[in-house]
Symmetry: C2
Subunit: 274 residues, 2 copies
């Protein structure tokens, strides 16, 4: 997932942008976390809704994965006919299905899945539609300009909220196009550009959601967006579904992430309250 | 979890109450499902909130379980220092921590965890406080009279909603008192009486939440409440936390259950929107 030296590459790149000026920069995570104000909840102003949209894909052992191999198996512990009840044990890699990336996923000492405050898991949602661009360029990266276009139509990105990329990729989840590998095995699907991540941090956004397998675009070699975003104390959600059913602004994102101590993320139930 | 013959016992008991009159009663599940109208969502009338309460316990390998043995282990797949990111694989029994009981948990062909509609997972919440009774009787079962007392103070139980039992047991989650076993190994903690479950079905309630390890009281030998409630197409949540922070009425229950195909339930993130 990370090639040797990629953190150093990202750090150098970010340093050139001046974000780490004057910092010891023991690591990209600590530096970014210091450079931006910590995220704060924005829902206290209140919210209302009349409809629930399930943003979660149904997950089975055949669900596509970043690494290309199955990441879920289920063993039956009890069967109704014999035991009077049904029960399974799962063996599951954390980053499977519609799932959370906690800050600790890409940092040495970031917050784990169980330690993200509930007030940062129920937040205002902005949905940025890049379907047309992604249709013509499978390596498209959502840019600050895309965010500014969204803001021109909808107002500021939500401070304390979540920004979701709707690239149209959710519709490919049952086929080869979801991973979209080339003959060399490199994947091709859209993601957030690291400069968009920086812009969102400046705006106080706390969550980043994508309808693909990675916050970064599939062909990324340095995971620049992961390394900029997660170590700053912010979370990500990958493989989100049904974003077409959610308005560009006004909905509330509910991230039902696992509350497992030490977890770097995990399968989650994600809703939009509209 | 189920002793031989317990389904038959429950069926006979329920039959005496006249619920299955004229039915072939191939199983308690099918019969109850026919005897009561299917649950319907009630949130369409709209809801608003200004505060999020996390009703989920943090889960680790030492979390108390119904069977008394650990039900979660975590294996590290990647470490930040070496690999540039952190990742684990979990091996976990479905019914661990704050978790969902799907209808299929106690039925031959009920709905699995992935098939419960999102509109049945975000619903109005009623919290019934039986802390005083549970403090003086660890085998206390929440009764229809407790529900009627709640209704006298708060209005009808929410059609399409969830009823949560606040027995005060969540505070014991880190100690022996949570399972509270006697010298014979039988557990002693409160639960819903099967007649309360019947009353809730008549009222159109869809979800039942408890702050203990089981919908039934700990000393139950027949799991009467499980067998009456789950096969009717309704869900349960066990090991709920922080019910003291939620009002008796007016909150919205959000059940972030796993959307895993075939699952009989599983660890969930549960919120109250207040």
């Amino acid at each position: 997932m990370c090639v040797p030296g990629c953190q150093e590459t990202v750090m150098r790149r970010l340093s050139r942008r001046g974000f780490f000026k004057g910092l010891g920069a023991a690591g990209a995570g600590a530096a970014v976390f210091t450079a931006f104000p910590p995220p704060r909840p924005a829902i206290a102003q209140g919210a209302s809704f009349s409809r629930v949209v399930d943003l979660t894909h149904a997950l089975g052992p055949d669900f596509p994965t970043f690494f290309g191999k199955p990441q879920l198996s289920m063993e039956r512990n009890a069967a109704f006919d014999k035991d009077g009840y049904n029960m399974f044990t799962w063996t599951i890699v954390e980053h499977t299905g519609t799932h959370l990336d906690a800050p600790i996923h890409f940092s040495a000492d970031g917050v784990d899945a169980s330690s993200i405050g509930a007030d940062q898991l129920v937040v205002p949602l902005a949905v940025v539609d890049i379907k047309e661009k992604a249709a013509s360029d499978t390596d498209y990266q959502l840019t600050p300009d895309d965010l500014k276009t969204w803001e021109a139509a909808n107002g500021d990105l939500p401070n304390g909220g979540c920004v979701a990329m709707n690239s149209g990729w959710a519709r490919y989840v049952t086929g080869e196009k979801f991973r979209n590998t080339d003959p060399e095995g490199r994947m091709h699907f859209p993601g957030f550009h690291v400069e968009a991540a920086m812009y969102m941090m400046e705006k106080g956004v706390v969550g980043m959601a994508v309808d693909t397998l990675s916050l970064d675009f599939g062909a990324s070699e340095d995971f620049a967006t992961h390394y900029a975003w997660l170590p700053s104390g912010r979370w990500g959600v990958e493989c989100v579904a049904n974003l077409d059913d959610v308005p560009a602004t006004g909905a509330t994102f509910v991230l039902g992430g696992p509350k497992i101590k030490g977890a770097s993320g995990g399968p989650s139930r994600v809703f939009a309250l509209v």
